[in-house]
């Protein structure tokens, strides 16, 4: 073919696009949105990960080990002992916490400069020695309110040297805040400005006072060689743990990564919907141009050239849409960053992520996925275009009947794919990735089944309603049935898009409800006291207050176990009152209460494949000891595993220790109880008191914050689904313009035509909505039972929120009707003679 001929081909494609702007733009939009989602999520994830790593690094520096303690931290005298008795000099104490200045959170990082000197760590780009011996920093020790920031961080926060601030610390997320006045005495250059963002450096004494941590530090940071590790291990007082800082960061990172994979998977689902849209659009464009293509073939255009033409078109769409999608993804990613960050497991310090990291890999991923998915989706229609018969145009009905012939094949294929998905789900192979592959197989299989299901349903409907249906009704049903190759595709696309919203919605709702139950079970009682000095005497005094039926003492410590490091929850209540139990034997509960064994949190048991009756070795105050596992309880705290033991057992193996938390149970006879407890503790600023209901609210608030990103993704998925419905149905209806013209010519009124079209779209919307429910529920099952389980070891109860299901139905119908309006309007207004002239 010569050059002008090639131009002719391209020109024809261009003209087609010009004549059918709706279809082109909607599928274009589909790719744009899909790419945007993937890029945005990936960028936000990368930025959050980088900020996370930096935060860990800027606070911890280049240390090899940390000594950490229980719920209150490490008693400071342990640091003294470490240095004066053991002579471990490459060590430094650390305290950090969040303070609020002008509604902005900052990490207050307390350090002892003289200890830091021996650690020589590179922290946040400061030369340790430089930091330690800047004269302004030594002012730390003489004045009790000074802070230092990096120059870049100060600039970012709008602070300058000499400024004083009112800083508030929050005792617990909801109780009274305590005010301190801080003065910025110096700003220092840092080679890594990002890492110092939002960090206020101060003396450890200042941090301890401002953060209300008298007597305790967060951790002892260490650089140890192997010999010293053994030495420290031998010396370590009960309740303290020596952790390898890499392992510690790894477990946090792992958690975060699992969450991010989930987010990325959700964005890929959106891209899948976009792929269906593209397939739909390209297929329609090929179908519509079969005549033209046939003529081209008759004129001597080769199959390869036709193939290239169709694919070229798709590629062009894909490339442009991907580029725009990447641009929009960049913008969206920036605004999603906060939400993604919120989903990172809470550390002791606040994560400030104001710098958005533009990772080229995210952009490439978006581009490759965008164009790749487009080309893949267009491959089948392109191949079909090459089949266009050269001389005369193929009757469409021929296609459709051909299509109906392969319907059983499609359905069987669908069933097989779904079966493969189920099998993959049952086996634990490939972990998380396997779970996502299985999910994809299930969705793909379901899509293939859709036309078959629709055919059966439509036949049934037509038979059952034969009498009662009037002509337009019958016509609309038959229309759908007769063009199943397109309607089926459209309905499948819609169903998948809607199912994503259903699946995620059900999953989040189930999770949230499970967390509520867990909170109720695990945080019983009415008033919580935390702090220093929660001894037996105080407990007795509190028990004397009117309205107090029970005072329970508990503490969280950490323990080295044969399963790795874990948190240890020690309580004096019977198991059933302390934990939301998952697996247990009734008789074992009494054994637990007598201190004859331990309980494991579900994630810990699941990750280590521990079951009831197994034994776990704990490093006690009296050496290593095996304990039988008497129960497994639900736990949704996003950190290391949790082990529950009864106080009797703790006292036996570790010795008595002051409680970290007192829980007051009220008999509801004293409505003033909280006020009385508060005033009782007035003279004791070391103890924080708050109503238990608030813990619940705060935990749920944290949960909601963590899942906020999911809700946003769901809304985006809904928008894509909406566009999907709109574009698929509109394309379908616009394509049938001539049929409607014929009907007009046969005497149907414009109003009847409109009704016919709207009824047709409504039925398709209804199909999509109904089909999305089983698919969505199946997705939620996979998300709940497989993905979350494999990511976090969390299992959760299934809840069926009717709102989510209703939402999907309403969404389907509204979108379907909206999609019908323009084509209906257009078809009703069309001049039949002119429309038919083309025929």
């Amino acid at each position: 073919m010569t050059l002008p001929g090639k131009n002719l081909l391209n020109l024809s494609a261009w003209r087609y696009a010009r004549q059918h702007p709706w279809q082109s733009w909607l599928s274009f939009l589909g790719i744009v949105l899909g790419v945007m989602m993937v890029v945005a999520i990936d960028l936000a994830n990368n930025s959050a990960n980088r900020a996370f790593a930096l935060a860990v690094d800027s606070v911890n520096g280049s240390i090899t080990h940390q000594i950490v303690g229980g719920d209150r931290g490490v008693p400071e005298e342990n640091y003294t002992a470490l240095r004066t008795e053991l002579g471990i000099r490459r060590s430094a104490p650390a305290i950090s916490g969040t303070v609020i200045i002008d509604d902005t959170g900052f990490t207050l990082l307390g350090q002892d400069l003289l200890s830091e000197l021996s650690l020589r760590r590179q922290r946040a780009g400061f030369e340790t020695t430089g930091t330690a011996f800047d004269p302004a920093l030594l002012d730390f020790s003489t004045r009790q309110n000074v802070i230092v920031m990096s120059q870049s961080a100060a600039r970012l926060a709008g602070f300058s040297t000499g400024d004083t601030f009112r800083a508030y610390r929050q005792e617990t997320p909801m109780t009274r805040s305590i005010e301190s006045v801080l003065e910025l005495v110096a700003t220092l250059p840092s080679s890594d400005p990002v890492a110092t963002e939002g960090i206020l450096y101060t003396d450890i004494a200042v941090a301890q006072r401002v953060l209300g941590r008298s007597g305790y530090i967060d951790s002892i940071d260490l650089i140890l060689d192997e010999q010293e590790v053994a030495q420290v291990q031998n010396w370590l007082p009960p309740g303290l743990t020596l952790t390898d800082s890499e392992t510690r960061n790894d477990s946090l990172t792992q958690m975060t990564e699992a969450f991010h994979i989930n987010l990325l998977a959700m964005s890929l689902l959106s891209l899948l919907v976009a792929a269906l849209l593209i397939y739909n659009t390209v297929t329609l464009s090929v179908l519509r141009r079969e005549k033209t293509l046939g003529i081209f073939r008759a004129l001597g255009v080769s199959r390869q050239e036709i193939h290239r033409l169709v694919l070229g078109e798709a590629a062009l769409y894909g490339i442009f849409a991907s580029i725009i999608g990447i641009g929009l993804g960049y913008l969206l990613g920036k605004s999603l960053l906060d939400l993604v960050t919120a989903a990172i497991p809470d550390l002791n310090y606040r994560l400030n992520v104001t710098s958005f990291l533009l990772t080229p890999s995210s952009l490439i991923l978006g581009f490759v996925l965008g164009t790749g998915v487009t080309l893949l989706s267009a491959a089948l229609p392109a191949w079909r275009a090459t089949r266009a018969k050269p001389i005369t145009l193929q009757q469409r009905a021929g296609h459709d009947s051909h299509w109906q012939a392969i319907l059983p094949l499609l359905s069987t294929g669908g069933l097989l794919l779904m079966l493969a998905g189920f099998v993959l789900l049952q086996s634990a192979w490939w972990g998380l990735v396997g779970g996502f592959i299985a999910l994809t197989l299930l969705i793909a299989g379901f899509c293939l089944l859709v036309p078959g299901i629709m055919l059966v349903c439509l036949q049934l409907l037509l038979q059952v309603l034969q009498r009662s249906l009037r002509l337009p009704g019958r016509m609309s049903l038959r229309n759908i049935r007769n063009s199943l190759n397109r309607t089926g595709l459209a309905v499948a696309a819609l169903a998948v898009a809607l199912a994503v919203t259903v699946g995620v919605g059900v999953m989040v709702d189930s999770f949230r409800n499970t967390v509520i139950i867990w909170l109720d079970q695990s945080f019983q009682g009415d008033i919580e006291l935390t702090g220093v000095g929660l001894d037996q005497q105080l407990a007795n005094e509190l028990a004397e207050l009117g309205g107090v039926s029970l005072v329970s003492a508990s503490l969280i410590s950490s323990v080295e176990t044969s399963l790795g490091q874990a948190r240890l929850h020690v309580g004096d209540l019977p198991a059933a009152q302390s934990y939301y139990l998952k697996e247990f034997n009734e008789s074992d509960l009494a054994r637990f209460n007598r201190g004859e064994g331990i309980m494991l949190s579900e994630p810990l048991a699941w990750l280590n494949q521990v079951t009831l009756g197994d034994t776990v070795t704990l490093t006690t105050g009296r050496g290593n000891q095996d304990f039988p596992v008497l129960g497994i309880f639900y736990d949704y705290t996003p950190s290391q595993g949790l082990i529950g033991i009864h106080e009797t057992l703790y006292t036996q193996w570790w010795g008595a220790r002051e409680a970290g938390r007192l829980t007051l149970f009220s008999d509801d006879s004293n409505p003033q109880l909280f006020a009385e407890v508060s005033s009782f503790l007035q003279g004791n600023p070391e103890i924080a008191v708050f109503p238990n209901a608030e813990i619940r609210n705060v935990t749920l608030a944290i949960f909601d914050r963590t899942f906020a990103i999911t809700s946003v993704l769901r809304i985006l998925a809904i928008i894509i689904a909406f566009i999907g419905v709109l574009s698929a149905l509109m394309a379908l209806l616009l394509e049938r313009g001539r049929e409607f013209a014929t009907l007009r010519a046969c005497g149907m009124t414009p109003a009847q035509i409109m009704r016919l079209i709207l009824m047709q779209t409504a039925v398709m919307g209804l199909f999509a909505g109904l089909l999305s429910l089983p698919l969505g529920l199946m997705m939620s099952d996979v998300l709940i039972d497989v993905i979350n389980k494999r990511s976090f070891g969390w299992s959760m109860q299934h809840f069926l929120p009717s709102g989510v299901l209703l939402e999907a139905m309403v969404l389907a119908l509204v979108a379907a009707l909206l999609a019908g309006i323009y084509p209906a309007f257009k078809s009703a207004r069309v001049n039949p003679s002119r429309a038919l002239r083309e025929e």
Binding site: T80, R83, G87, P93, L114, F133, T142, Q144
Partner: protein, 370 residues
Amino acid sequence: MKRIICLLLLLNACTPALEEAGDEAVFSLDVGEALGGDNTAGYLRAEEPRVFSFPQDHGLHPGYRNEWWYLTGNLQNENGRRFGYQLTFFSTAIAPGSTSSSGWQSPRIWMAHAALSDITSGQHIALERFSRENPGLAGARLSPFRVWLENWSLSSNNDNAFPWQIELNDDSFSLDLQVSAAKEPVLQGIDGLSQKSPDPGNASYYYSLTRLNTSGSIRLNGESYDVSGLSWLDREWSTSVLADNQSGWDWFSLQFNDGQELMYYQLRDTQGNAHPSSAGNLTDLDAQQQYIQPEDISLQELSNWEAPNGVEYTTRWRMQYQEHDLIIAALLEDQFMNLSVPYWEGAVEVLDADTQELLGRGYLEMVRSP
């Protein structure tokens, strides 16, 4: 007289010039500035003689800015292997009147220097540590007596009584020594008030335990040596000492074989000449003292050694005092303390200038401006 500390300088907001030497950060300090009396408001000052009482005065004297416990000694094992050691605890108050403390908030910052000279192998090791006082990381207390910085300490196992233990552990060497005073404390200067420059108050309270019988063990390079010998403890507390025109000193603590001891410090002015406030003391067998003034004594520099920082230190001296005509010679040329405050401090032997007979041993400290 002892060197005061970089900390002083730092805390008084003079800006030290920080230099990188290898991976060690080194301060170059102007000692005169460090010991200057710019910011003394609120501190007690050594203005008048006081009554000393022991063991109370072995402990800390809050209210003054600086205080130190300064141990030096010459030891040898049964094969005649000779060692010199130094262990010093310096305390510097952070602010006047701040005696209250809690948690990590510390009224004082501590620095310790330690050194070991292995004369036979020619090795000299100098160590330095810093710490804040709280929570219990460093400090000085009585009943039982204990001065410590991390795992370096000088302490009594029997309330405040001798023998005292010296414990020092470091990767490079360890000391495990017992010291017992063979003489009563010697009050230096005029009844323990040691005037360092003409301004009233530019003085310290200063006493010494000039003869401490010492025994114990030294661990060095994986070997342990049982040693014995004599040590010397200097105790001084003050708020300011040097005048603007003073910049360093040469300090001698000599223990004669005949049972006498001689302490003399020669303060230097900024031109390097002896300052009239220089002073010393000769202690006889019964701890009776003779006050030594600059005009009573003659010091002659015989040979110098150049330290890596370019400063020349005199490692061979001639000292003439009354009937004594002495050669004071460093046992090692390089006993340079390359620390935050660079100075030379080392074991010396005292010889008769005429007969070269060994009359005693001692320690010499030289602080000089670059």
